[in-house]
Symmetry: C2
Subunit: 306 residues, 2 copies
């Protein structure tokens, strides 16, 4: 895609169109306890709630989630499990806070019921076959060969994402995923479960018809096989993390032609797949190694989210 | 249990009876890539492999694992899902490295087949019901009211665990769980998936008839509901983490009478449940705040494992 038309699509969405809402009272709860000297203290802990997902009247799964954006989470989960197709039209989403349920309705009768029935009969437990579904579309995806990652964007993204107010200050124990275009973070979703944050981004993009809004995905979590599969299935050609790699994640990224960058901290990073998309235009002398306080803040975030 | 007899059981097991094997060539793989200046580099990434688990000829689940101790992982998973009971005798475990399968055989016909059949019929997908199974035994468990945690033990455990050679040095992206008795780390298991590390400890304890070998559980990961449920079902009354809490994890710990300690770093920690078991005998003046290098090392470990 020429730079110009890419820009016009990107410009439709503002920086941090979705950003963390650290002050949302539903996301944390105040609790009391004692500290290392036996003193009574008050602190905040992040919420973790069950959410049972139905598709057209059929129960699919119960997820643990922080509880924000149940609509995006539900639709994104179904998309990333290949239970919804990108051309499916969602005609209704009913979220019931009290029953902890979310129901997604489509105009097409989905074919997943037969698939699911067959699979539960052959394997007994769907956990393994859910993974099978995940891989179904993987080999068909063609990632944009013309997408590039300028290192100046990478450094700008990291700085912006690390300094936006997030829930960590309130409670810790949370993961973050950010969809970005060039040097601009667009959607920043968080959850207690890492892949929920990705699913929320997929759901947002589907419901807002912004499938091509971004080309770069930033995650606080590890670059596992699951992260790589979901990124590829969303058609995003570049995945960046401040955390480490797994061997299978690297294999899958190489197979799909995904640009896979990990251990991104300060000016440092390591690319283990798709490095031909990287343009080294960043001035590494201008990027300091992470300020100890920032490094500590960021690493605590990840640590608490471990 | 009187202090004396508790000691005699603890003394049967040496410190670090199981410890990380950072040099095991099966756990990491060498890969090449480029760094932030475009230079070609060689690095190591942690392995992540599928392992399909069968119980008495029935396929249960496909797990992602680093691959060490498939026997302990298989048995521990079945125990923690309540598919095996503590009185069940395992008469054989066949691990096939090439097929990536592990088969657990018991002398009793397990009743989980009926349970599983019924549940897949009612819910369609076993993911939610697996969680239902997890909770099944939770309310019956009585945790030892006489167990104590001396803060001097806590500080000694943290120091020993943080300084034992581990896989982080090779590759990062890994979680750790340690079963401890008083100030002694006994079993230190690691995996790419946090709950696999717990399951391996449960499997080890079952196969080695050492159900009461330890009273304290240390984890690098967050104190989520799943961590709390598994710890309680293993009958362990004290759970410590350097990471944060979730609200439901705190609720469940209070309900079960579990001592729940988080954000344990240097001399600091926060107890949000069961603090009556804590004995403040540690000299906090003698425990320095974490040395910057150690803190960085430890936090990187967790960060890469996020």
């Amino acid at each position: 895609m020429p730079q110009e038309s890419a820009r016009s699509i990107f410009s439709l969405m503002e920086e941090f169109t979705v950003r963390p809402q650290p002050d949302d009272p539903r996301l944390t709860r105040a609790v009391t306890g004692i500290d290392h000297e036996g003193r009574t203290i008050a602190t905040a802990v992040v919420m973790e709630r069950p959410l049972t997902l139905f598709l057209n009247g059929r129960e699919i799964v119960t997820m643990m989630t922080i509880g924000d954006h149940p609509d995006y989470l539900a639709v994104g989960y179904l998309l990333n499990q290949n239970m919804l197709r990108s051309e499916d039209r969602v005609i209704g989403i009913d979220y019931d806070d009290e029953l902890e349920t979310v129901v997604v309705r489509t105009d097409r009768e989905t074919d997943f019921e037969d698939k699911l029935k067959k699979k539960t009969l052959t394997s007994g437990c769907a956990q393994g076959t859910v993974f099978g579904d995940l891989m179904e579309k993987f080999e068909e995806v063609r990632l944009d060969p013309d997408a590039v990652l300028r290192t100046s964007w990478l450094y700008a993204l990291t700085r912006k994402i690390n300094t936006v107010p997030s829930l960590y200050h309130a409670a810790g124990a949370i993961h973050g995923c950010v969809l970005c275009a060039e040097d601009r973070p667009l959607l920043y979703m968080r959850d207690v479960v890492r892949h929920n944050a990705i699913d929320k981004i997929a759901g947002y993009m589907h419901l807002n018809h912004s499938a091509h809004a971004g080309k770069i995905f930033y995650t606080t979590g590890r670059l596992t096989s699951e992260m790589v599969i979901k990124t590829v299935q969303m058609g995003i050609p570049i995945l960046i993390s401040r955390s480490g790699f797994t061997a299978w994640g690297v294999d899958l990224a190489r197979q799909a032609g995904l640009t896979l960058i990990g251990r991104a901290k300060g000016k440092r990073f390591v690319a283990l797949a798709g490095s031909e998309r990287i343009v080294f235009d960043g001035d590494t002398r201008a990027v300091e190694d992470e300020h100890p306080r920032l490094a500590r803040k960021a690493s605590l975030t990840e640590e608490d989210a471990a």
